[in-house]
Amino acid sequence: MSGLIVNRLNVSHGAIHALHDISFSVDPGQLAAVIGSNGAGKTTLLRTLSGLKDASSGSAQWDQREMLGVKPEDLVRRGISHVSEGKSVVPELTVKENLVLGGIWRSNKAETQESIDQVVELFPRLGERMSQSADTLSGGERQMLAIGRALVSRPKLLLLDEPSLGLAPLVIEQIFETINTFRTRMGLTVVLVEQNAMSALEIADIGVIINLGHVVAQGKASELINDPALRAAYLGY
């Protein structure tokens, strides 16, 4: 069984037990929306999956290989990329350098250049600003750059942490559209963590709802959207 399989994952921040027995699975090529309110543990989940944080127990497998306990830099080489929250670009570097960063671990520079070209196709605004310093970009452009950098590493599994945070609704729409486009084009598996539950579930195949560190519901996104109880609790209407 390939894809992402998370089984009874427990994570603590010191004495605080942040994630309890989290279990869910995502088939290859699917987009899973992980939603829940602030402090629910969504970011912790992604950071544990990408190796930035250690789990206390449980397992997470991608493509039938255990992910936990592996360093982030090694997971990247396995095709797992994490775009952490907060428009994670390096402001002191140029746009181009940020993109090159995505492929820096690869020895084949031609491949990296190809990927960069593909990303620029997806996000033309970046192409216009290649030699500009990343701190001159707007919020939306930075998010595109962050995602673009992750894409340059040609991942099979993409972990996105709240890409819509702090962005205008129009920009959010754009970004979500683009996410959908590239994931179908490139056959990516995506785990999308979002507070913006509605937009996330609309493009997702499955949804996982987390509250206070527990999975409270999961299933087909379309079903979750239409469940009245969930709508009241998490979607607000």
């Binding site: 990408s50 930035l52 360093k71 982030p72 830099e73 990247v76 080489r77 990329s81 994490h82 775009v83 952490s84 994670s88 670009v89 390096v90 402001p91 002191e92 570097l93 350098e97 090159v100 960063l101 995505g102 820096i104 671990w105 950098r149 992750a150 590493s153």
Partner: protein
């Protein structure tokens, strides 16, 4: 007028040596968030190695080469064996703030003692690779010698090489990314620990060159590089610890300024001058003269 130009030239020479030291300090600071006081010790050790080779072979440049390699190996070693252990153990309690500082100071003392035990405290001299007689222009001799010119040229070459490394190579990009944003670098697949060690190695090698240049035709002793460390540190602070260009600019400014004090006021105030500059910068513009106004985080 002539004195001004002379002072400027000498100041440039002094400043360029400080630039190497301050660059090394900033390099390490950016990549590890630690001011490595032991860098003076590393440079000293590297210089003694250079001294051995150059006095046995009679070739300064061979000694310099060994000093660079020695300094680089020592720098990498310190990061790998010392700093990693330190961060693993001392990260709680009131000491967490204090530990890295004290530890690198301890390391400085350790290296100094080892050097002293091995070579003794007598002053050594390293033969300069160029004449120290001032250039004669027409009928006047200025205090600027071929050696000074050589120092400026060497440092400039090194700075150019480093600039190319950092701006145009993937290694340089990795070094910068690991220093500016270590977490993002990790997520981009950069092996940040390894990269950091390389940064330390580069800093160590650069320190070795600084030590060799400062000691050529000067005295070398287990204490002779302390002043270099102090002025290198001051230069780094003046330039704002966050930028490598700033480190160089700060060093040149400091070198020229101190030489003016030396020539126009007298030796007594050189050190006090330097110290005053440090205090002034820290009080007035703590981010350094090159900073864009970001906060200073220790």
């Amino acid at each position: 007028m002539q004195k001004v130009i002379e002072t400027l030239l000498i100041g440039l020479t002094t400043g360029s040596i400080y630039a190497l030291m301050s660059l090394a300090i900033v390099l390490v600071w950016r990549s590890t968030r630690v001011i490595n006081f032991a860098q003076a010790g590393q440079a000293m050790f590297a210089t003694y190695i250079g001294f051995e080779i150059s006095s046995r072979s009679g070739v300064f440049w061979l000694g310099l080469l060994f000093a660079v390699v020695g300094g680089a190996l020592l720098g990498a070693g310190v990061d790998y064996f010392f700093m990693r252990v330190l961060f693993k153990h001392a990260n709680t309690g009131p000491a967490a703030v204090v530990a890295p500082v004290i530890a690198t100071l301890g390391l400085l003392g350790l290296i100094r003692s080892v050097v002293g035990l091995t070579w003794g405290g007598e002053f050594r001299t390293i033969e300069a690779p160029a004449s120290t007689d001032g250039y004669t222009i027409g009928s006047t001799t200025i205090p600027f010698s071929p050696l000074n010119a050589l120092v400026i040229i060497t440092v400039s070459l090194i700075l150019i090489a480093l600039a190319i490394l950092f701006q145009r190579t993937n290694l340089g990009l990795a070094l910068r990314a690991s220093a500016y944003a270590p977490e993002i670098a990790k997520l981009a697949g950069i092996r940040t620990a390894r990269t950091r060690t390389i940064g330390w190695a580069i800093a160590g090698g650069v320190g070795g060159v600084a030590g060799m240049l400062v000691s050529s035709n000067n005295f070398l002793s287990p204490y002779s590089l302390d002043l270099l460390l102090v002025f290198g540190f001051i230069a780094a602070v003046v330039g704002g610890l966050e930028s490598m260009v700033g480190a160089v600019v700060g060093a040149l400014v400091l070198g020229i300024g101190l030489t003016f004090i030396l020539n126009y006021v007298g030796t007594s105030l050189v050190f006090i001058g330097g110290f005053t500059v440090l205090i002034l910068v820290l009080l007035i513009k703590p981010d350094g003269i090159m900073a864009k106004g970001k906060g200073r985080r220790a």
